[in-house]
C-alpha cells in the first residue's frame, strides 16, 4: 500500500462531509411546504391570541377604572338636588378620585342617537348619571361607596360594570382557549406529517441504513443523521412560515394605521387596538417557529429509533 505518492489532497480538492441522508428529495420539499404552512397558521393563531389578550386587558383597565351612579327620577322629586347630593356623597367616599355628574342636557344627549331627533326627551324620565373615577388602589373596593350611597342617597344605584367585565373575560378567555386548541391541532397535524415523512425517508433510505449498520454505525448515530436532516427541513419550513406570519402582522399593523381614518377601521381599532404586535409578540412568533423546528428534529429522531428497533 506504499507505492503511491504521499501527497494529500487539500480541502478544496476533496468533496467530503456530504450528509449521509440525502438532502434533496421531493418528499423533503413537500415537508418544508407543509411545515411552512402550519407554522404560518400557528404563528397567526398565537399572534391573534396575543392581540385579543392585550386588547381585553386594555378594555378591562378602562372599564374597571370607572363606576356609574344612576338616579332614576320619580314624580315629585327634584332630580337635580338628588344628583347633587349623590355626587357630593360619592366624592367624599373613601377610594374615590372624583365624581362628575352629568347634567340633564348631557344625559339626554347620550340617549339622542338611539331615540332620534323627533322625540321630546323632556317628557321622558331620563335616568341621571354620575361617573365616578376610582383611585387605582381602590378599584375593587366599592363597599364604602355603596354603603355611603345607601345611607345618604337611597334613590341612587351603583353600576360597577362587573357584568361587562365578566363577559369580556369570558369572551377573551374563550378566544384564547380556541386559539390554544387550534394551535394544538396544528402541532398534531405537523407531527403526523413529520411522522409520515420520516417513515417515507427511512423506507427510501433503507439501503443506506443497512450499509450504515454493516459498517458499524450505532442506532444513535443513524438517528442523529436523520434528526439533522429533518432539523434542517424544520428550520427551513418554520423560517418561511414564521417569517411570513411576521410579515403579515407588520403589513396588517400598517394597513390598520391607514384604515383607522375610516369608520370600519375605527371599529376594528376599538376591538383590537392598533392591531399591532409589540416586540414580545414578534418574539413569540420566533419562539413558536423555533419550537416547531426543534420538535420536527426531535420527533424524527424518536421515530427513527423506533423504526430501527423493529429492524432487529
Amino acid at each position: 500500500m506504499n507505492d503511491a505518492a504521499p501527497t494529500i489532497p487539500a480541502d478544496s480538492q476533496l468533496k467530503r462531509d456530504m450528509p449521509l441522508v440525502p438532502a434533496d428529495s421531493i418528499a423533503g420539499r413537500a415537508l418544508v411546504v407543509v411545515i411552512a404552512i402550519l407554522t404560518f397558521l400557528a404563528c397567526l393563531t398565537a399572534g391573534g391570541a396575543i392581540l385579543v389578550a392585550e386588547a381585553s386587558q386594555s378594555w378591562r383597565g378602562d372599564v374597571s377604572r370607572d363606576v356609574t351612579i344612576q338616579i332614576k327620577p320619580r314624580a315629585g322629586e327634584d332630580a337635580d338636588a338628588l344628583v347633587a347630593a349623590a355626587a357630593e356623597i360619592a366624592s367624599r367616599a373613601p377610594g374615590v378620585a372624583d365624581a362628575t355628574a352629568y347634567s340633564k342636557a348631557q344625559s339626554e344627549a347620550i340617549l339622542a342617537p338611539w331615540l332620534g331627533d323627533g322625540v321630546d326627551l323632556g317628557q321622558l324620565p331620563i335616568p341621571r348619571l354620575i361617573v365616578v373615577h376610582m383611585q387605582p388602589s381602590h378599584r375593587e373596593d366599592l363597599e364604602p361607596l355603596r354603603a355611603a350611597l345607601a345611607a345618604g342617597a337611597p334613590a341612587a344605584s351603583l353600576d360597577d360594570h362587573r357584568l361587562w367585565l365578566s363577559r369580556l373575560d369570558v369572551m377573551a378567555g374563550a378566544i384564547v382557549v380556541f386559539a390554544a386548541a387550534l394551535f394544538a391541532l396544528m402541532i398534531v397535524a405537523m407531527g403526523t406529517a413529520v411522522g409520515f415523512a420520516t417513515r417515507g425517508a427511512m423506507a427510501g433510505a433503507r439501503e443506506i441504513v443497512e450499509v450504515l449498520h454493516f459498517v458499524g454505525a450505532a442506532d444513535s448515530y443513524i438517528a442523529g443523521q436523520f434528526q439533522r436532516h429533518f432539523l434542517r427541513l424544520g428550520f427551513e419550513g418554520a423560517g418561511i412560515g414564521g417569517g411570513g406570519a411576521a410579515f403579515f402582522f407588520a403589513v396588517a399593523a400598517l394597513a390598520s394605521l391607514i384604515a383607522r381614518r375610516t369608520a370600519a377601521g375605527a371599529e376594528i381599532a376599538a376591538l383590537f387596538g392598533a392591531f399591532r404586535l409589540d416586540l414580545s409578540g414578534y418574539a413569540a412568533i420566533a419562539v413558536v417557529a423555533g419550537a416547531i423546528a426543534m420538535l420536527t428534529g426531535a420527533l424524527s429522531r424518536r421515530i427513527v429509533f423506533r423504526q430501527l428497533s423493529l429492524l432487529h
Binding site: A4, I8, K15, R16, D17, L20, L212, F214, A218
Partner: protein, 224 residues
C-alpha cells in the same frame, strides 16, 4: 474467533436452508467459502456478520455468544469485521472517497486524521483519480475496488468478501487477491466466498468451506 455449533436456518415455517453447520474460523486464517450458485454462500456470510439470526444452534464470535449480544455490542463487533458485498452496496450520493471513509466516519473519527490513510488506500486500489466521483459513474470493477477499500480501511480482524473478484479483469483480480493475502499476513482472518476454481487453485494452502445440499463440509488446505 468465529465458531458455529449445530447452526441451522430456516425462513418462516419453511424447511431448513442450512443445517448442522459446525466449523470455526481461527484468527489469521485464510479460507474460501465455495459451492454452486444458490447453495447458500451469501446466507452463510450474513450469519457470520450477524445480520441473520440462526433458528437453532449457537454462534460464538470474538469469544461472545451472538444470541446474548445487545444491539450496541453487535455494532461494536461489526467494527472489527470488514465486509465486501457482491452488489457492492456503495452509497450513490457519496463520493468514492466518502464511501471508503464511511466506517471511520461512523466511528466519530476526525476527517483530517484519516484523510491520508483513505487517499493512500484509494490510490493503491487504482481509484486515485476517482476520489470525487459518485458510484453511479464508476464501472463495475471500480465499484468493486471501492467496496474492497471500504472493507479494508478499518484493518479488520475478520474480512468477509462475497465474490470480490467477480467484476474485474484477471490482472486486477490477482492484485486484489494479493491485497487480501497481505491483509491475512498482517493478522486478519479472511473468508472469501467464490465459485472461481482457478482462483482457489492459486491458494492451495487455503481452507475450503464447501456449501452444498444445505450443509457445509470443510477441506483443510495443503501445508504451505
Amino acid at each position: 474467533m468465529l465458531r458455529f455449533d449445530n447452526v441451522g436456518l430456516r425462513y418462516g415455517v419453511g424447511p431448513e436452508v442450512l443445517r448442522d453447520l459446525n466449523f470455526s474460523i481461527a484468527p489469521q486464517s485464510f479460507q474460501f467459502l465455495t459451492g454452486p450458485s444458490g447453495a447458500g454462500k451469501t446466507t452463510m456470510l450474513k450469519l457470520m456478520l450477524l445480520s441473520l439470526k440462526p433458528t437453532r444452534g449457537t454462534i460464538h464470535i470474538f469469544g461472545e455468544d451472538a444470541a446474548a449480544l445487545s444491539k450496541n455490542q453487535i455494532t461494536a463487533l461489526r467494527r472489527r469485521i470488514g465486509v465486501v458485498f457482491q452488489d457492492f452496496r456503495l452509497l450513490d450520493h457519496l463520493t468514492t472517497y466518502e464511501n471508503v471513509a464511511l466506517p471511520l466516519r461512523v466511528m466519530g473519527r476526525d476527517e483530517a486524521g484519516y484523510r491520508a490513510e483513505v487517499v493512500e488506500l484509494l490510490r493503491w486500489v487504482g481509484l486515485g483519480d476517482q476520489m470525487n466521483t459518485l458510484p453511479p459513474v464508476l464501472s463495475g470493477g471500480e465499484k468493486q475496488r471501492a467496496a474492497i477499500a471500504r472493507a479494508l480501511i478499518v484493518r479488520p480482524e475478520l474480512l468477509l468478501a462475497d465474490e470480490p473478484t467477480g467484476n474485474v479483469d484477471p490482472s486486477l483480480a490477482r492484485r486484489l487477491l494479493r491485497l487480501f493475502v497481505e491483509l491475512h499476513k498482517s493478522g486478519t482472518a479472511v473468508v472469501i466466498a467464490t465459485h472461481d476454481l482457478s482462483l482457489m487453485d492459486q491458494f492451495g494452502y487455503a481452507r475450503r468451506l464447501v456449501v452444498g445440499d444445505r450443509q457445509l463440509r470443510v477441506f483443510e488446505g495443503e501445508p504451505a
